[in-house]
């Protein structure tokens, strides 16, 4: 098992100790901690601790590495400091790279982000159906090609990316804004368990820490740092996802964005990135081409899994087209030129064949790509 040296471990716990102080300092903004985390221990204390400085210094003096290690172990995590060879080298360019990472899960971080390429997929919590669908296709395609998918386990795009990566057979890496043993948001408990089974959950905050507003943009720098490419699926302007993209740009990594509706406010940030020259991402293939080059074997063999064969019946093909275009039932009828009862019957056949599915309230949606014959969840 990898270990962490005492000084780095102490640093990690100090950040945890000062977390609420930092929150007090940055209460009103969603800005990242500007350079704060790059300060040395004493200067960090001086900068943020205020009247708690004496207590914080006492904490530093009284730090017990053995007890801290026991606490980390008890939480089911392990600590990895920047002096360990397994520490992801791509984090080094960060001026405020975390001294120590706390890791949980069965996956091997070295294999996941150092030996294999990794792509961060980030986006809005309140994502559109379109955004979620594209995310699933990207995550599944990358996962199937053995590319690690890094995300933040938030609701919406993040969670969809993790799920799709798992479904595609890939290794997901979740970077949390809280301790690795804290499930936030709690709704994602099932997903958290699944990630632990095969992937890695990591954080710079020690176990037991709850999330703070500042810790979200802070973890975004880690996501961007870990990945060769950062893809922003749907991001308003301003938004946390856009911050992740900005970090990636500053690090000189490739920033990609999925085009969204120009009228949609929640795609304003991601469309803005495209305007500024971000990689135009419409399919997992775009990312694989970028990672491996268009001519490489890997990009070619790792074609994203395809949808089921399009229906032979031309009317049903029209119906499917209408569902894929996101039309409501009336639009579907109009597009296929069918009376509603025939359209419904045809949709039923498409559903049986795995082309479309219905959500909890009966709205038809296209069914996603099918990986190894198993229909998408």
């Amino acid at each position: 098992m990898s270990a962490a040296c005492d000084a780095c471990l102490r640093r990690g716990f100090l950040v945890g100790h000062l977390a609420s102080r930092i929150a007090g300092l940055l209460d009103s903004s969603r800005r990242r901690v500007p350079g704060l985390l790059s300060l040395g221990d004493e200067r960090l204390v001086a900068a943020v601790a205020g009247d708690g400085a004496a207590e914080a210094l006492a904490f530093l003096d009284g730090f017990d590495p053995a007890a801290a290690r026991a606490q980390v172990r008890a939480s089911g995590a392990r600590a990895l400091c920047r002096h360990d060879p397994a520490y992801p080298a791509q984090l080094e360019p960060l001026s405020d790279a975390p001294s120590v990472l706390f890791l949980a899960g069965e996956g091997d971080i070295r294999e996941a982000v150092s030996l294999e390429p990794s792509v961060a997929i980030v986006g809005a919590r309140r994502a559109s159906d379109y955004g979620l669908e594209v995310t699933r296709e990207l995550g599944r395609g990358l996962g199937a090609a053995g590319v690690t998918v890094v995300s933040g386990m938030a609701l919406g795009i993040d969670a969809a990316a993790h799920r799709a990566c798992l479904d595609g057979g890939g290794v997901p890496v979740a970077v949390l804004a809280c301790g690795t043993d804290v499930v936030y948001p709690r709704t994602n408990r099932m997903l958290y368990e699944r990630i632990l089974e095969r992937g890695v959950v990591l954080s710079e905050l020690p176990p037991g820490q709850r999330p703070f507003r500042w810790s979200f943009p802070a973890r975004n720098r880690i996501m961007a740092g870990l990945s060769q490419i950062t893809v922003v699926v749907e991001a308003a302007d301003p938004s946390g996802s856009l911050i992740t993209g900005t970090f990636a740009g500053q690090l000189g990594r490739t920033v990609g964005a999925v085009p969204g509706q120009v009228t949609s406010r929640r795609a304003a940030g991601s469309n803005g990135l495209l305007k500024d020259g971000a990689l135009f991402v419409t399919s997992p293939q775009d990312l694989l081409d970028e990672l491996f080059g268009t001519e490489s074997d890997r990009a070619r063999t790792a074609r994203s899994p395809s949808r089921p064969e399009p229906p032979a019946d031309p009317v049903r093909a029209l119906l499917l087209e209408a569902v894929e275009a996101g039309l409501g039932i009336e639009g579907i009828c109009a597009h296929a030129g069918l009376p509603v009862h025939e359209a419904r019957a045809g949709l039923s056949r498409l559903e049986a064949a795995g082309h479309v599915s219905r959500d909890a309230l009966g709205v038809y949606r296209p069914r996603l790509a099918v990986a190894d014959g198993r229909p998408a969840a």
């Binding site: 996101g326 019957a345 909890a360």
Partner: protein, 505 residues
């Protein structure tokens, strides 16, 4: 001297026979009522005394004891007044003792001696006929409603004085004639063709009307879900005479009727703040709930996700059994509750159109979960209502059939069902039990396979399987087919929603 006068007590929506016995004998003047009377019944003593005296009749200054038999059942309300007064008249020899032979009496008294109408006159008349009485004397205001029951001579009496004249054979009222509520003016009636677009909701409601199925409409606010639902009674077949009697009896018992025979099916749209008792019936003196008032008609729950969980839970059993069972202390009551459920909800809690929706996954999950499970499994059709596009709003003509035309198709489909289900207790496809479903909604080889696949893949429950068959049966009936074709089943499956459909992650 002892007199006994039969009358009827309303319990829920049914009437039970009660015999009023009045005993007059010498002693200190007193008037006692026994037999579990409530406050309103005990007050009847004062009304009876004043009414008799104000009608220039005698109130005997002797010891009067009245008993309401059976003495073990609680009596409530003022409907015993007239029977008590009649009993006093007979017991004190003011009217001939045989004048009330084979005659039941029901009504409330005012102090002046005039008779006031009571609730549940038709219910009482039907019970009187069942119990073998030949005549029923009721206040004039109830005569029309009570006369809806045939084989019973209903006499409407305006006042106590006239009752005495009647019992002496000196006066005979006009025989009461049943009144039928006029069918509403067809020009004014809301019509399906008034609603733009909404092809899916209209089709779903047509199927639902044809087979008596339950529907859920999903759509953003302002899409016209309520508008479409309000037009459902217009495409439902008019109630048969028996159904009309049931409707009138229930509404009369609840004090909602106007004494005339209902010619339309009821449409009840309770607000979402309603209590479980208000929805399925209850209260210390049990009253029918909305689902009973919607019996043989439509129960419309707008914003169904806003109803309290306990209210929706309470609906499950009545929806499945067609009756609502209320258990109150020592006794249990059963209300008829065979209504079509039409529910409407927004696609998500923020209720914005799809492109502007601001809900996150959790909100949407929570919203869906409020409906899911038990209730959604009892919904046969889930359809989508979409906000009409501006073009459709201004264009002339809805491009759909008018309500009478749809009603004709519905009636034809129902007639096929009546022929098929003759001799069973089911009136329409939705009423069919498991055995009838298997007999009348059998599927041919390929079609059966297809359905079996849905059950095995877990997208249909056992109950869902039967419900889909009944729905497919209705679709075929609408098309005038005796056999269920693959397309019929496909359409049924397309409207039927699996209870645990995965929610877009």
């Amino acid at each position: 001297m002892l007199a006994s006068v039969p009358t009827f007590a309303l319990v829920g929506v049914d009437s039970h026979e009660v015999t009023v016995e009045v005993d007059v004998r010498r002693g200190l003047p007193a008037f006692t009522v026994v037999g579990l009377p409530d406050a309103a019944v005990r007050e009847a003593r004062e009304r009876v005394r004043a009414a008799l005296l104000n009608s220039q009749l005698d109130f005997p200054l002797q010891r009067l004891t009245a008993n309401l038999a059976p003495a073990s059942v609680r009596k409530a309300g003022p409907s015993f007044d007239l029977a008590l007064a009649a009993g006093v008249l007979v017991a004190s020899d003011q009217v001939p003792a045989d004048a009330l032979e084979r005659t039941a009496v029901c009504g409330e008294l005012s102090l002046s001696g005039l008779l006031r109408p009571v609730r549940g006159a038709l219910s009482g008349a039907l019970a009187a006929r069942r119990a073998g009485y030949e005549r029923l004397i009721v206040p004039e205001g109830n005569a029309g409603e009570a006369a809806l029951s045939d084989d019973l001579e209903v006499l409407g009496v305006p006042s106590l004085r006239q009752l005495v004249e009647l019992l002496h054979g000196r006066w005979q009222p006009e025989p009461a004639t049943p009144q039928v509520r006029p069918v509403r003016d067809r020009v004014d009636e809301p019509d399906m063709a008034d609603v733009r677009g909404q092809v899916d909701a209209k089709r779903a409601l047509e199927i639902a009307a044809a087979g008596g199925h339950n529907v859920l409409m999903v759509g953003p606010p302002g899409a016209g879900k309520t508008m479409v639902a309000r037009r459902l009674p217009g495409i439902l077949p008019p109630p048969s005479l028996d159904e009309a009697l049931e409707i009138t009896r229930i509404h009369g018992a609840a004090g909602l009727g106007d004494g005339r025979l209902a010619t339309e099916r009821p449409f009840r749209a309770p607000h979402h703040t309603i209590s479980p008792q208000g929805l399925v019936g209850g209260g210390s003196v049990p009253r029918p709930g909305e689902i009973t008032l919607a019996h043989r008609g439509v129960l419309f729950l707008d914003e169904v996700a806003e109803f309290s969980r306990s209210s929706l839970e309470a609906l499950r059993q009545p929806l499945e059994d067609g009756q609502a069972q209320i258990v109150r202390g020592q006794r249990s009551l059963t209300f008829p509750a065979r209504a079509m459920l039409v529910a409407a909800c927004n696609p998500c809690p923020c209720a914005r159109p799809r492109e502007e929706c601001r809900c996150n996954e959790v909100d949407r999950l929570r919203y869906g979960r409020r409906l899911s499970g038990p209730l959604i499994d009892r919904i046969d059709l889930v359809c989508q209502a979409e906000a009409p596009r501006a073009v459709e709003l201004v264009s002339a003509g809805g491009g759909c059939d008018r309500s009478p035309a749809i009603r004709e198709r519905v009636v034809a489909a129902r007639e096929r069902q009546h022929r098929r289900l003759a001799g069973t207790c089911a009136l329409c496809n939705a009423d069919m039990d498991g055995r009838l479903t298997r007999r009348h909604a059998a599927l041919g080889g390929e079609v059966a396979e297809r359905l079996l696949g849905s059950v095995e893949s877990g997208s249909l429950t056992g109950r869902g399987h039967d419900r889909v068959l009944r729905l497919a049966r209705t679709v075929a009936d609408l098309a005038g087919r005796e056999r269920i074709m693959p397309d019929d089943l496909d359409e049924a499956l397309a409207y039927r929603l699996a209870p645990r459909a995965p929610i877009a992650a």
